[in-house]
Amino acid sequence: MKDTKVIELEEVAIRFSGDSGDGMQLTGTLFSDATALLGNDISTFPDYPSEIRAPQGTVGGVSGFQVQFGHKQINTPGDNAHVLIAMNPAAIKANARFMSPGGTIIYDSDSFTEKNLRKANFATDDPFAELNMLDYTKIAVPISSLTQEGLKEFGLDNKSVLRSKNMFALGLVCWMFNRPLEYIEEFIQNKFKKKPVVVDSNIKVLRDGYNYGMNMQHMTPSYLVHPAEIENGTYRNINGNQATAWGLLAAAEKSGLQLFLGSYPITPATDILSALSQRKDLGVKTFQAEDEIAGIASAIGAAFTGSLAVTTTSGPGLALKSEAIGLAVMAELPLVIVNVQRGGPSTGLPTKTEQSDLMQALYGRNGESPVVVLAASTPSDCFYYAYMASKIALERMVPVLLLTDGFLGNGSEPWKIPSMAELPSITPRIAKDAEVFQAYRRDEETLAREWAYPGMKGFEHRIGGLEKNVSGTVSHDPENHQVNSEIRENKVQRVADMIPELEICGDDDGGEVLVVGWGGTYGHLISSVRQLRMEGKDVSLVQFNYIKPLPKNTAEIFSKFKKIIVCELNLGQFAAYLRDQLPQFTYHQANKVKGLPFTVSELKESINKLLED
């Protein structure tokens, strides 16, 4: 037997790709989880169409899942895949542009029929030549027929048989990357507990795929990626939406309040609603409302009643909630609004990522209607920023809008599990003295009013959307409106006292170029800056998580650099905001609106260009 060709790698990106019904998301997730369990750092990127089942075999129906893992820190799912698993010709077509030059393509040769080639709009029978991919390692595996062969004793119909072909591909990839199958088999056993035949058939196919790799080792290389050197501790894999849900749970427990979520399903935010609706064990109340407006309205009702109240949505839903956010601003109720951003405007690109709701978050309401705006920057830190959003809302009696995005929400990474004890305290401003209570009496320092809710004897009072005086009586007095408008703005600005200062990743003393990012672009930006610094370039990064108010030392940091480039997945919304807030600086821009994350290479190109100018 020939020796297996073993290639040691620092990091590798794999893309699983097939029809949206082929189970690629599950395949990718299982592989990622198994990989994380081995101690590799990982970053994942599900990339799927908005139709549940677009026409089979077409490029529009291709669903992909990319994972990058390595033995050092991994901040992005990788610009390009080193290995592509393609279940049909359309997957090749859709993913050619995401491949590293000279990469490996494993494809189901059974699916390369004339019919499927035409469906994928290939003119000839040689898709690789057509796509000019001749110097790639191409491994043809008859996945469909091997799956059928392996299951012929099971007495299953052909449709059910072919449904498990993704397990063959998964087994094969596990062999290639030296991933043991235990975790995956355990998962299958749990998931299909009640259907033993499904368990058996899937595990059989999974092992067939693994064994196929072992037996065909003359043609499939095997890769070795050592575990990463990461901080000691207990880890788990987590995606951004789950982390957001759990951060809210942590805040509820810390503050001693009931968690109430009013929400309406919308891609890509729905998973937060699902995750919290599972947590009846922790007493969460989830209300799936009749529409987006009722989602936030019910949350405002719960906030009025003394709960930690949350609503979750994505861009179009945020638009529908605008008027109600204004009510929460006016009533000065604690409310957390999570917007998992997606491509817009209108329905836009529902399953794709973008950062184009920043202006909507900051300004998208009638009247002077300030809210606190936060943005998470990695899948796992969604936990922390959801927690902080709750803390700020409860301690400052103000609506807080947390921006995440589809890339963070669906992407996952290993996360060192925190303990509740190490999270900062949360002290809701619950009124204590009925004698002195007035609806809009404020703390002098923070300008926050007190919270008194139904059931608290002696605190009966009225609030509402009309402008009020201190006691809560409706007031149309011009002076009062001016004063209150300024107070509401200042109350938000004073949140700067409780948030951390901005930190420079790079040279604390400043230098040539400062790369500025916010929210979910962190992974790509830090990877770009890190690589440029290793190339000797004078580049540093600041990533904003606190958008409104800005951290207090923002201007001080900006002033240390000769050039500033603001990189964001929109046409320049944060840059415009910075020009408004800190007009003394010049802001260069790198923008992308393709529904996709940045790539490290395109960022490096933009930054290099600025360095050379």
């Binding site: 990461i230 901080e231 427990e253 109600a324 009072h461 509402g464």
Partner: protein, 350 residues
């Protein structure tokens, strides 16, 4: 429970009531305050929620917890209030426009869910606060500032929507009849589930007299049927008229004529689950029929906020995860040890 000796004064706030002189809302405010004082519910347990419109100023005049919200959303906000704290007595004050035009979606869904709210719909069949446009309960052909040549659309009948949304409680009253209003409000509060009370209300400025055919003191005995559960459906000055069900339809009869006796008259059963007869009563209109008042429908049905808590309690009995620390450690986790000083990289920086 200690005796709560409230009077109407305990429920009046210091805010000056600013409805137009002669507005029907005054009478409804009075009825609500009197009813609340007599309910035996601690004052701090009341939450009065409103949307936008003349009637939605209501919370400001109540010395209870109150929330004057945004147009059409009172039912949705109140849903959150009650779901978050089922101990409260939650009242929604809304008009025909607020509840059935801009807030129509919330109106039907709160009823469908059967959240335990008391919704008072002030039906004056006009937009008063915006000074006189037709509303979703204005009759076809109604002339208003925005329908100078008459509307070309049919109105909603609030009770029909309630039945259509599988409502468990519907009552009708009229602003001027304090005794009737108080009695239906009490029943509404007692009922577990969404209790919709339509109050025919007069807008003295923009739609004065819209209900006067019904309320006219000279004719009201013949034009109003006050329903009581378990009592025959009788009306008329001498209670000489009644309703029978004949060939699938309601029919007005006179006792003593054509051999009709008291025994032939329908007896009102508000608790009948089948809504057929309730709907027929809701649909009755002048001149062929009297208009039905009182509690038309009050059937027991599962209550959303109660079920929500029950489900949580049930699951918590056997829960494995009792706190967030448990949750964080649940499922697949792994230990990383042996890296010197936990050397590796923190995610945060270079």
């Amino acid at each position: 429970m200690t005796e709560l000796n409230y009077t109407i004064k305990d429920f009046k706030s210091d805010n000056e009531v600013r409805w137009c002189a002669g507005c029907g809302d005054f009478a409804i405010l009075n009825a609500v305050q009197r009813t609340m004082a007599e309910m035996g519910i601690p004052k701090e347990q009341f939450a009065v929620i409103s949307g936008i419109g003349c009637s939605s100023r209501f919370p400001y005049y109540m010395n209870t917890f109150g929330f004057h919200t945004i147009h059409g959303r009172a039912a949705a906000i109140a849903s959150g209030v009650k779901a978050a704290n089922p101990e409260l007595s939650v009242w929604v004050m809304s008009g025909d426009g607020d509840s059935m035009a801009i807030g129509g979606n919330h109106f039907i869904h709160v009823i469908r869910r059967n959240i335990d709210l008391n919704m008072i719909v002030f039906n004056n069949r006009i937009y008063g606060l915006t000074k006189g446009q037709y509303s979703p309960t204005s009759d076809r052909g109604f002339v208003s500032k925005t329908s100078p040549f008459g509307t070309v659309e049919d109105p909603f009948v609030p009770g029909q929507l309630v039945i259509g949304a599988r409502g468990s409680f519907f009552a009708r009253s009229i602003d001027g009849n304090l005794k009737l209003s108080q009695s239906v409000l009490k029943e509404a509060e007692k009922h577990k589930g969404t209790s919709v009370v339509e109050v025919l209300q007069n807008c003295v400025i923009f739609n004065n007299g819209i209900h006067s055919e019904i309320t006219d003191p000279n004719h009201r005995a013949d034009r109003q049927l006050i329903l009581e559960h378990g009592k025959p459906m009788l009306f008329g000055a001498e209670n000489e008229k009644g309703l029978i069900f004949d060939k699938g339809k309601l029919r007005v009869v006179v006792i003593g004529e054509n051999g009709v006796t008291l025994d032939d008259i329908l007896v009102h059963d508000a608790m009948e689950e089948d809504p057929t007869l309730h709907l027929a009563l809701i649909n009755m209109k002048l001149p062929d029929f009297p208009v039905a008042f009182g509690v038309i429908r009050a059937v027991p049905a599962p209550v959303y906020d109660v079920e929500m808590e029950a489900q949580i309690n049930e699951i918590q009995k056997t829960r494995k995860i009792t706190c967030v620390d448990d949750l964080l450690k649940s499922g697949n986790t792994w230990e990383v040890t042996g890296n010197v000083n936990g050397s590796g990289s923190s995610k945060k920086c270079l």
